[in-house]
């Protein structure tokens, strides 16, 4: 036990002595948290909207006004023809073109079908989808109102039927993207820092030659590994704490669930990541190699974590792969506990799987660490 204490003591001294690393460990992740949480949103705003009004009636102007009134659309210009509007989209000046056909008002008045043409720049497919939904909502509102007005005007007596859905969004009532993103981004920061630092740490000792000196001592493998990894566990916890405080104070993210549960799960989770870092450092000779391998896994884990794209919409084989992605479980747990107030019984499957990963990863790491070559 004493031996482990000496290693831990030495690691902390080295961490706090490295004046260049300290800000990298603590300040950079928090800057990232602040920037990413504000920037990484799926909300589509400031859509550049252009229209071609071939009808030029009060009804067509009313439709355009609806778009002008919307906070999502900026009406940039009106074009005399669809062709010119198309040119503007090619230039990148326009995201959406609405073309109102001639006889638009007349057809509606006659209770006939009228077609609107909408062209959306779909280079960013996700944004195009969202824009389509916004446009449909506005057109439908307009449609409903127009129908009521027209039917009154026609005095036909038949009130049009309307079925309306009123969604209520649970756990994130205002559909605030920060509420959704901040717990996930916090997960990334804790993961990146602990993986990179632990992966780099032992390789660094290999590079400067001190690891050989350690291997000549009668120190036991587990003593060395526990002593090496423990400081990074503490560091990860400190990072989580600072991140949670910022989430609460700066972003007003609700923390509904138990903090104790979050820390318990994070402990198990960080053990997985540290085991991975150690495993990587056992199979590499330079910090550069370790960095590349760590990045490789990091990118796959992040993109397949369900943080940016929902896992449900991935192909079957990819969904299967995410079963082995620890970040996925951490994102799930953080969102469930923070936003939903999930208890241990709710996150039991995640806890169990992560625990298995932790045991397997660290067993592999200890086995692959060789004092004798």
């Amino acid at each position: 036990m004493n031996i482990i204490r000496y290693i831990i003591q030495k690691e902390f001294k080295q961490i706090f002595r490295n004046k260049a690393m300290l800000p990298i460990i603590f300040v950079l992740p928090l800057i990232q948290l602040i920037i990413l949480s504000n920037a990484a949103t799926f909300e589509v705003k400031n859509i550049k909207f252009a229209f071609v009004d071939n009808d030029k009636t009060s009804l067509s102007r009313e439709l355009v006004e609806k778009f002008e009134a919307s906070t999502y659309f900026n009406v940039v210009s009106q074009f005399p023809s669809a062709k010119q509007a198309g040119m503007a989209m090619l230039e990148g000046d326009v995201d959406v073109i609405l073309e109102i056909p001639s006889h638009f008002e007349r057809q509606l008045l006659k209770n006939e079908k009228a077609d609107l043409s909408v062209i959306i720049n779909a280079i960013d497919g996700a944004a195009a989808g969202v824009e389509n939904v916004y446009i449909n909502q506005i057109v439908q509102q307009f449609n409903k109102k127009a129908l009521v007005e027209l039917s009154l005007f026609n005095r036909s007596g038949n009130q049009p039927m309307n079925i309306e859905t009123i969604p209520s969004f649970w756990y994130n009532e205002t559909l605030n993207y920060k509420t959704f993103m901040v717990p996930g981004i916090l997960v990334l920061l804790v993961t990146m820092i602990t993986l990179f630092l632990s992966g780099m740490n032992i390789v660094r000792e290999k590079e400067i030659g001190t690891l050989e000196q350690i291997n000549v001592t009668p120190i036991k493998k587990h003593q060395f590994i526990i002593g090496k990894l423990f400081p990074f566990l503490v560091l990860g916890m400190v990072l989580l704490t600072v991140g949670l405080i910022i989430s609460k104070l700066l972003f007003h993210i609700p923390i509904v669930g138990s903090l104790g549960l979050m820390y318990l799960y994070t402990t198990i989770y960080i053990l997985v990541i540290l085991g991975m870092g150690l495993f990587i450092s056992n199979f590499t000779d330079t910090q550069q190699q370790a960095m590349f391998i760590a990045w490789f896994f990091m990118v796959i884990f992040i993109l397949m974590s369900g943080l940016f794209t929902p896992i449900e919409s991935m192909p079957q084989w990819a969904q299967l792969l995410t079963e082995f992605n620890p970040i996925r479980y951490y994102v799930e747990v953080m969102r469930m506990v923070m936003l939903k107030g999930a208890g241990l019984s709710d996150i039991y499957p995640q806890v169990l799987k992560t625990l298995v990963f932790a045991i397997v990863m660290n067993a592999l790491a200890v086995m692959s660490y060789k004092k004798v070559s």
């Binding site: 004493n2 031996i3 490295n18 400067i208 000549v216 001592t217 009668p218």
Partner: protein
């Protein structure tokens, strides 16, 4: 094996694929002896030494160090030896004192023991002003002296020194060898590799490795007589040239 032999090597071989780095070497080193382990760069000295200190597994053969087999009881061997590698092996970002505490600690010394030893060491080396400065800021000669003392912290029976005086000025080399002799007089066995032939003259016995094999092993005096020359330098050159 006689009782007094601290190192006993029999047919020790290390192969990396097809390349034989150490080819069937055998020798023994007695207690308190200063044993010079010479050879050109790439002759296999460091590889042989790594097998003796238990961080490299021999392909064939056997070695007993401090009474323990390096294959089966490597960790017992490690408890009884000190090692100072070719590459400087203290932590540059820790102070002298912190390095002492750390290495003392992982050898399992008590904190009272560590305190006493580090005090004694600082007195002996005259490092009072520098005890709290980072090792990285010390001149190389000082670093090597500190590294040697740190390797001796846990009172090993044998100390392995891999080119301990490389790049060090002649005065410091002299002082370094005085430290080596002091330990040898206390009964510590010294196993040292070097490229300086004047240092070879200080050794009780010397072995010369060429291309993985030990080509000569005797006292410097006998070796000079055998090759009919008057310095170890000439012995070395003659031997290395003949083989080529």
């Amino acid at each position: 094996m006689t009782e007094d032999n601290m190192i006993q090597v029999e047919n020790l071989t290390k192969m990396f694929g097809d390349f034989t780095a150490v080819n069937n070497i055998s020798f023994e080193v007695g207690k308190g002896e200063v044993f010079g382990f010479l050879g050109a760069n790439g002759a296999g000295k460091t590889t042989a030494m790594k097998m003796l200190i238990g961080i490299s597994e021999p392909t064939h053969g056997n070695a007993t160090v401090a009474g323990y087999n390096v294959l089966t009881h490597a960790e017992h061997v490690k408890r009884n030896i000190g090692y100072m590698s070719q590459r400087f092996s203290l932590y540059n970002d820790l102070t002298i004192k912190e390095n002492i505490v750390f290495f003392g600690g992982i050898y399992g010394l008590s904190s009272a023991d560590i305190k006493e030893k580090s005090q004694a060491m600082i007195n002996e080396l005259g490092l009072h002003d520098m005890a709290d400065s980072l090792v990285g800021s010390l001149p190389l000669g000082w670093k090597q002296k500190v590294a040697f003392s740190v390797a001796m912290l846990h009172n090993p029976k044998i100390i392995f020194l891999d080119e301990p005086t490389g790049g060090v000025d002649p005065i410091t080399r002299r002082q370094f060898w005085e430290m080596i002799y002091m330990e040898a007089n206390r009964g510590v066995t010294i196993f040292v590799t070097t490229h300086y032939m004047d240092e070879a003259e200080y050794c009780d016995r010397v072995s010369i490795m060429v291309a993985g094999k030990i080509e000569a092993l005797d006292t410097p005096k006998n070796l000079k007589r055998q090759f009919q020359v008057d310095s170890m330098n000439q012995v070395f050159l003659k031997l290395a040239r003949n083989i080529e």
